[in-house]
């Protein structure tokens, strides 16, 4: 189940975020987001568990994101 969708400012940061989280045991995937906000690059990280912790890791490693929405399906 998707727990949250993290909208990224660029594809580069999406990959950086994906690698960072995957290597720390947080399953996630880069997908094109059909509801992306204007500030996004259209790519989002779909994170499948422990979203708050995962978002914290992104912040800790200064991987920027533009929006985060919880409770995807």
């Amino acid at each position: 189940m998707t727990v949250c969708i993290v909208e990224m400012p660029s594809y580069t940061y999406a990959v950086k975020g994906e690698k960072l989280l995957s290597s720390r045991g947080y399953p996630c995937k880069i997908k094109r987001n059909t509801n992306a906000s204007p500030g996004s690059c259209g790519y989002s990280l779909f994170i499948y568990r422990d979203c708050e912790k995962a978002a914290g890791i992104l912040a800790q490693y200064r991987v920027p994101y533009t929006n985060i929405s919880y409770g995807g399906g």
């Binding site: 660029s10 990959v15 204007p38 500030g39 259209g42």
Partner: protein
């Protein structure tokens, strides 16, 4: 027979692995990176990111700080114009290529910046002193080549970078002749590294790199599509999108990745040592030719490049006659007004620049051909 000894211009041949990577990129990475979510775009985006990662690892940088450009000249223009956009004082070395010297001189000519040129001596101490004495309160940036393109001289750039760091001056390095030959890391004090992808890194022509440590913001030279913030008319500020507008040369980026992997496989010190041996061989053979002048000085360090002349023979003339025998050498002023002024050459020099695929036999063959050509009636009569 064709022997390429003009690898300082662009390396040729390229390693088989680079040629293979280019073919694979043509076949598989036909989408646009960072634009769109269909399989071709996603596959291409992932490939381009992997190229950034390889470059980043090689130079000790972050992938998001690796900007693919069309060549080193473009990268240097981005760095110089981008850093100096607000004015201030800039110092360039006395052996800079025109790719750094011209944009700097243009800014100075238009009154946008003040510019100083620091001479590069054979000894490190006076060179470092020259840079130090030119640094001022308003000095914003120093541009220094890591190895000159005419003689291959390596200035004491780590010392110059340290001087910059102490004074909060942006250190911009031109690595066109050094990358792939010298072990260069951003942690050596480089704030912005500009280099070609198609020389010592063995990628294809049309590739260059700007790598930044992110400390000094670079105002973009061009604006445009970045695949992000598409509804905004304002260029994104975030690296790398701020500096990489438009579709990059994805095939070229994959060639640079393969080129770097080739260097990593063979070892940078081994490659340098191999090329130095060829240069040493050639220099020793030149010494047996009457009138030969090699532009190297005691005390200085050099990348594997040899600039030479034979007496008063115009370098273009001799290079043309050697070209007829299949030797590819660059003669003239090598787009390096400052370096040739410092050397005091009248008609320039002939530049010998081997690469990984050359051998000492190539150096011998060239030396033999020079002797043969000089024995011809044309030269015996006129020189």
């Amino acid at each position: 027979m064709l022997i390429n000894l003009d690898n300082a211009a662009t390396t040729f041949p390229k390693p088989p692995s680079v040629r293979k990577a280019v073919a694979e990129a043509m076949e598989s990475f036909g989408g646009n990176a960072g634009r769109g979510g269909h399989p071709l775009a996603m596959r291409t985006s992932a490939a381009l990111y992997s190229a950034r990662e390889t470059v980043a690892e090689f130079f000790g940088a972050m992938p998001e700080n690796v900007i693919f450009t069309m060549n080193c000249t473009y990268a240097l223009n981005m760095a110089i114009q981008g850093i100096m956009s607000g004015g201030g004082h800039m110092i360039i070395s006395g052996i800079e290529h025109n790719s750094a010297a011209r944009p700097a001189a243009e800014l100075a000519r238009n009154g946008k910046i003040t510019l100083s040129v620091a001479p590069v001596h054979s000894d490190d101490e006076p060179t470092a002193d020259a840079f130090r004495s030119l640094m001022r309160e308003d000095t914003k940036a120093v541009v220094c080549t890591l190895a000159g393109n005419v003689t291959g001289q390596i200035p004491p750039w780590k010392r110059i970078a340290a001087l910059c760091r102490e004074r909060d001056i942006c250190f911009i390095a031109d690595g066109a002749q050094a990358c792939g030959i010298l072990d260069i890391k951003m942690s050596d004090g480089i704030n912005i590294l500009c280099t070609a992808g198609h020389k010592g890194l063995y990628g294809i022509t049309g590739t260059g790199l700007l790598i930044t440590d992110g400390k000094y913001p670079i105002k973009p030279l061009i604006q445009g599509g970045t695949g992000s913030s598409s509804l905004s008319l304002v260029q994104p500020e975030l690296l790398l999108e701020s500096l990489e507008s438009g579709t990059p040369c994805i095939i070229g980026a994959m060639s640079v990745k393969a080129g770097i992997e080739f260097i990593q496989k063979h070892g940078i010190s081994r490659i340098r040592s191999h090329e130095e041996k060829i240069c040493s061989r050639f220099i020793s053979r030149l010494h047996s030719i009457p009138g030969a002048v090699v532009y190297r000085e005691q005390g200085a360090s050099y990348a594997p490049v040899v600039s030479f002349n034979i007496g008063d023979i115009p370098p273009e003339l001799l290079a043309a006659d050697l070209a007829e025998k299949g030797f590819c050498l660059r003669a003239g002023f090598h787009c390096a007004a400052l370096a040739h002024t410092q050397l005091g050459t009248k008609n320039g020099t002939i530049r010998f620049s081997p690469a990984f695929f050359n051998t000492e036999h190539d150096a011998d063959a060239l030396a033999n051909s020079i002797k043969y050509v000089l024995d011809s009636e044309k030269y015996q009569k006129n020189y």
